[in-house]
Amino acid sequence: MLSKELMGVLALAILWVNTLLIAAAAAKEIAALLAWKRRLIAVEGDSGVGLVRARVTRGAGPGGALAVQRVEQLGRAATNDEGGRRVIHFADRSAVGEVFGGTATRDDGEIEIAVDAGASAEVWVPATALAASGSCASDEVFDRAFADAKKARGFARAVEGAATGEVYLFGQLRPMGKGLSLAAAKPGGLLVAKFDPRPWLDRKIALAVLFIVGDIALAAACSAVALWPPRFGLVSTLGGAACLGFFLTAQPAGTALRDAVRVPSRAWLRGKWIRSAPVQEPAAPPHAPRAT
């Protein structure tokens, strides 16, 4: 016979094993972010591996861009309109960063840095900037896209975020002639960021730490209520319900955290376009007068 007490212990064991695994997965995310943070230390001199702040003076890419983050997307027509307006939902297919090469001046002087072109690199563009560059220009553009989005193959597009103006560069810095050169560090590669990545990393690490604390604290609180005397009484039963609810919601919370702390080069862009106004259907032809 399986007593309530025995089954209660089993249920709490299941809850805690999963809680701790979800916390451990979050800790692995923190470890990955900390690895980035350790790499991104400012380079003080003329050589070394690290981060420098600079301003792009010449980029070999389109529009003078030093680098670009490109997200390939597929748009599909939404099942449901929003307030009678058509919608296209976008799914990400791939994301890749490309450094075209060029020059930038270091912000602590007039020293010019030549940046190597590289087929692939980390290019970090703010999510808001990337989303803005993928917004719909007009209803005419929307209507052309919608015609494809309704078909099985969908509406394919590429959203690009360019690195111009002020940037943060990570890589191997070396003196070269009167200036400096930046190439991919081994290990560490090459990073071109449109924002200071260090505060961004701090915020994401703090979020993940908060998640772990919250995950464990909530599991402890639910367990405590479930164990409230008399066991299996009203309060204890409410605690059991809270444990079940927590078990079911902690899992999507864990994957939401994983998505929230993805580095910008691998963060989901997705998004949707909504037509500014409903499509005006052509008026129906007037009924022919009924023959009498």
Binding site: M1, L21, N80, A91, K150, G254
Partner: protein
């Protein structure tokens, strides 16, 4: 019924629901034997979901939809989720360029047992988020309605049972339901970790024991199921011998799932290193197999 062999699946579900009902209603049935059997049959219930969502077992469309609702209660998730998550995405290891929602790479612990235990915590939310995105596009209103019915019935009936007798329902209904649901997610890790999902014949691990495949309705023959998704489950063993065996790395034909689990997750602490399993099919004669794109288009048409 379309096929005589489906009685086995009906029997599995009947036994499972009988076990749940017995434990909920009769205190004498709340023992280790009944609980272990209910957990195992809950897993088999999800195997029936898998088979039914590939090929409805009844000739009547209405009955097939009602059967999905019944199966959803057994697993505490809407059975129709299998159409996008399994039939369309998992079978082709691809979600419009992004990885399968249940790809083995979703877990990265060095301690391999932690990967096995944790896998549903990631694959489950990935799946349900993916299904929501899939429902949102291309006029899937009928699917959304059926998905809603299954959710309402599965969570509604479970909720009523919890309200009537919370602890009995939690311990003897919900735990078996979740065990089955989480095990069918884990199967994705078990059947594909260490395989080459880009290859045609070495993307999956098979479990070929006869008794195992009788009760599992031939779900151990996973390679041929991926490649010939329209084939009825009762024909998979013969097709495996005919088409897969000549092309598969022998390490992907496991005689026993229990042996594999013990060896991979208990005896060996760390995730096994990979080797080039796909080399086996390069040495074999080419097979008549449609491209993944064509097979996906076929599955998409079938789901519509």
């Amino acid at each position: 019924m379309k096929h005589r062999a489906e009685w086995r699946q009906i029997g599995i579900v009947a036994v499972y629901l009988g076990l749940l009902g017995s434990m909920y209603l009769i205190p004498a049935c709340r023992n280790v034997f009944f609980l272990a059997a209910a957990c195992y049959f809950s897993f088999l219930n999800t195997v029936v979901i898998h088979n039914h969502l590939h090929q409805g077992i009844f000739k009547s469309r209405g009955l097939n939809l009602v059967w999905r609702v019944v199966l959803s209660f057994g697993a505490l998730y809407p059975a129709s989720a299998n159409i996008p998550s399994h039939n369309l995405v998992h079978h082709h290891f691809d979600d419009d360029g992004q990885p399968d929602w249940a790809a083995p790479e979703n877990v990265t612990f060095e301690w391999n047992l932690a990967n096995l235990v944790h896998f549903p915590n990631v694959a489950g939310p990935n799946t349900f988020a993916g299904v929501q995105r899939w429902i949102a596009v291309n006029g899937r209103k009928d699917f959304a309605r059926q998905y809603l019915y299954e959710n309402v019935f599965a969570f509604g009936l479970t909720g009523i049972l919890l309200l009537l007798d919370f602890w009995s329902a939690l311990f003897f209904i919900v735990i078996p339901q979740l065990y089955g649901a989480r095990c069918i997610l884990r199967i994705n890790l078990i059947q594909h970790d260490g395989c080459d999902t880009t290859s045609d014949w070495n993307h999956s691990r098979n479990f070929v024991g006869r008794a195992f495949n009788w009760i599992m309705c031939n779900n151990g023959f996973h390679t041929i199921h991926h490649n010939r998704a329209g084939m009825h489950w009762s024909e998979l063993d013969a097709a495996h011998a005919r088409e897969v065996v000549p092309r598969i790395d022998p390490s992907l034909d496991e005689p026993s799932m229990i042996g594999y689990l013990a060896r991979t997750y208990l005896v060996n602490l760390w995730r096994p290193s990979r080797h080039d399993v796909a080399a086996a099919e390069a040495r074999a004669a080419a097979a008549d197999l449609a491209s993944r794109e064509d097979r996906r288009a076929e599955a998409e048409a079938a789901s519509a």
